[in-house]
């Protein structure tokens, strides 16, 4: 794995390299070099299996991380290719021509994160959330708790007490120790 990464580093600009396990590494690549890198890995290095394609929302850095996880089934090792995308122009080139199944992942990312993949087949079709109009829900700024509170009614009769506050109420209600 180490040698492979060293070789890749001479050919591509990899900004970060983490050897997570003996058989799993993560590298970060630029947008321009993603496609050549994937092609190289697929055709030259045996990473023929697109394990998954997903995103991570680093909202505090205004970045979407795309992770293309490729597997070499013969060697039993994987490489996660990470791409950092500006969150406000969330659009990336499609790889459905490299792996047809990528279209499904890209369709989901479009729906759940609002990351566009122009040219990807049926990318604008509803996938899981038919009729969804709110913020793409897997973005970190979509608040599931708020959504559920607005959408559903709490069961009546639910009430809880904080042990420490209740003990103060019962045992020393008049004492105030704020200094």
């Amino acid at each position: 794995m180490q040698t492979l990464i060293s070789q890749l580093q001479t050919r591509f600009q990899l900004s970060e390299f983490i050897l997570q396990r003996d058989n799993l590494a993560f590298v970060t690549v630029t947008r321009e070099q993603l496609r050549p890198l994937l092609l190289h890995l697929r055709d030259k290095e045996g990473f023929t299996h697109l394990v998954l394609l997903t995103a991570v929302d680093w909202i505090e850095d205004n970045i979407f991380q795309l992770t293309y996880l490729l597997g070499d089934r013969t060697a039993g090792c994987d490489i996660g290719v990470r791409l950092m995308l500006p969150r406000d122009v969330a659009s990336m080139d499609s790889i459905h021509d490299l792996w047809p199944t990528a279209a499904t992942y890209q369709r989901e990312l479009r729906e759940m994160f609002g990351i566009d993949f122009p040219e990807s087949p049926r990318v604008d079709e509803d996938f899981i959330l038919e009729g969804w109009t709110d913020l793409p829900p897997y973005r970190r700024d979509f608040d599931t708790l708020k959504y559920s509170q607005e959408s559903y009614v709490d069961r009546l009769g639910r009430e809880t007490k904080d042990p420490a506050a209740y003990m103060k109420l019962k045992l020393y209600p008049d004492e105030d120790n704020d200094g």
Binding site: L24, G76, W99, I128
Partner: protein
């Protein structure tokens, strides 16, 4: 509206492809009909549906629709502590929930730098193989049922119920076991478990004998299943195909062998493969894989250490924070590669969890490809042969 006239027409004539490659289906032409198979169609495995465009009794296009069971687990986990995620992951795959528990726990353990006791690994492998048997038994009933053989489902349900009894005595629950948690497993095997498991395994084998005679050596089943849903081995990588679907096409890929996890490097087995890559071949791969699991359980129970801890020392789980990192953990479930991609950010909550269920690729892109030109009555059999559990598609 199976119009005899269309049936006689030259297949290659329709539907036409537009210059961009998409099918030119004009519903107003009267040549085509939209047919929704599912949700909750008896031939559908779970809550999903296929939007079929048929011409006569032949499918010209099929689109998978999921989302009927979307609960947003990946998002829900982002606001649960690492231990609180443990009880919900099992729901991502009902018939074989244990891979969720295992992959999640292993991912957390790796990022938290937690070493689990040796015995816990054996018990985890035991549970995963028990789950595989259950999943296959359910599949066999479904596959036979899709071609009208109701009795197979009755027999396999019986055998599965015995295995659920073993699950119940080992884990305290029948369906959602919640037994494999970060750090190890909840408890050791109960007293006398080995003997009862052996009885159950024998009953499973006996049931499988009957299934073999009535389903696999059955002219009707063969007539329906042989040649149906051929998967070209070349598609395996393009479509992210794993598990019995790949092995049915002769691609001997099994994570247990390729990237041995838990104790699989200490067990004696070879991946089960087929050649014909049709519905029949896949069913047979699964049947033989099931029998291999029976053997693996026997191996596990005989090789497992008798004594030892089954749970590592955890920090106080209420404040458990895991340093920033990411990892991917996979296992070979009954349907193929099951995996968890976990990203942590140093807080007490996962930053991102992505569940890779094998149905995601099989029931979407692959099914949509395979379904073209299939007879309507074979759609159910084809779908079941991909062994789809919809919750792992939509999570």
């Amino acid at each position: 509206m199976a119009d005899a006239e269309f049936g006689k027409a030259d297949r290659s004539q329709y539907p036409h492809r537009r210059p961009d490659g998409s099918l030119d289906i004009d519903l107003t032409s009267g040549k085509y009909l939209k047919l929704w198979q599912g949700p909750n169609h008896p031939g559908i495995t779970g809550n999903m549906s296929v939007e079929l465009t048929v011409c006569g009794d032949e499918v010209v296009e099929g689109k998978t629709h999921v989302g009927y069971l979307h609960r947003g687990f990946e998002k829900l986990m982002e606001r649960r502590t690492f231990i609180q995620c443990f009880p919900i992951v099992c729901r991502i795959c009902v018939p074989e929930p244990d891979f969720n528990e295992y992959c999640y726990a292993a991912a957390v353990e790796e990022l938290a730098g937690l070493e689990i006791p040796e015995k816990a690994k054996w018990i985890r492998a035991l549970i995963l193989e028990m789950g595989r048997i259950n999943s296959y038994l359910m599949y066999l009933g479904g596959q036979a049922g899709a071609f009208g053989q109701g009795v197979i489902g009755q027999w396999t349900t019986y055998a599965r119920d015995l295995m659920l009894d073993r699950f119940e005595e080992l884990t305290g629950a029948r369906i959602y076991h919640m037994f494999i948690l970060p750090g190890g497993v909840r408890d050791d095997l109960p007293e006398g478990f080995d003997e009862r498991m052996e009885q159950t395994l024998q009953e499973v084998e006996r049931t499988l004998d009957d299934v073999y005679d009535t389903m696999f050596r059955n002219a009707v089943f063969k007539k329906r299943a042989v040649g149906l849903g051929y998967v070209d081995p070349a598609l395996v990588d393009e479509y992210g195909i794993t598990g019995p679907v790949a092995r049915g096409a002769g691609v001997a890929r099994d994570v247990r062998k390729d990237q041995p996890y838990l104790v699989y490097d200490q067990l004696d087995f070879e991946p089960v493969t087929g050649r014909e890559s049709d519905v029949y071949a896949r069913a047979d791969v699964r049947r033989r894989d099931l029998l291999m699991s029976v053997d693996l359980i026997r191996q596990i129970l005989s090789k497992m250490p008798h004594k030892g801890e089954v749970m590592a020392t955890l920090p106080n789980v209420l404040h458990w924070k895991i340093p920033r990192g990411e990892t991917y953990i996979r296992g070979e479930c009954s349907r193929g590669e099951y995996g968890y991609y976990l990203v942590t950010d140093g807080s007490g909550y996962p930053r991102r969890v992505n569940v890779r269920g094998p149905s995601y690729t099989h029931a979407m892109a692959l099914l949509e490809k395979l379904i073209v030109n299939v007879n309507i009555s074979d759609v159910a059999g084809l779908m079941v042969s991909l062994h789809t559990y919809p919750p792992e598609i939509e999570r």
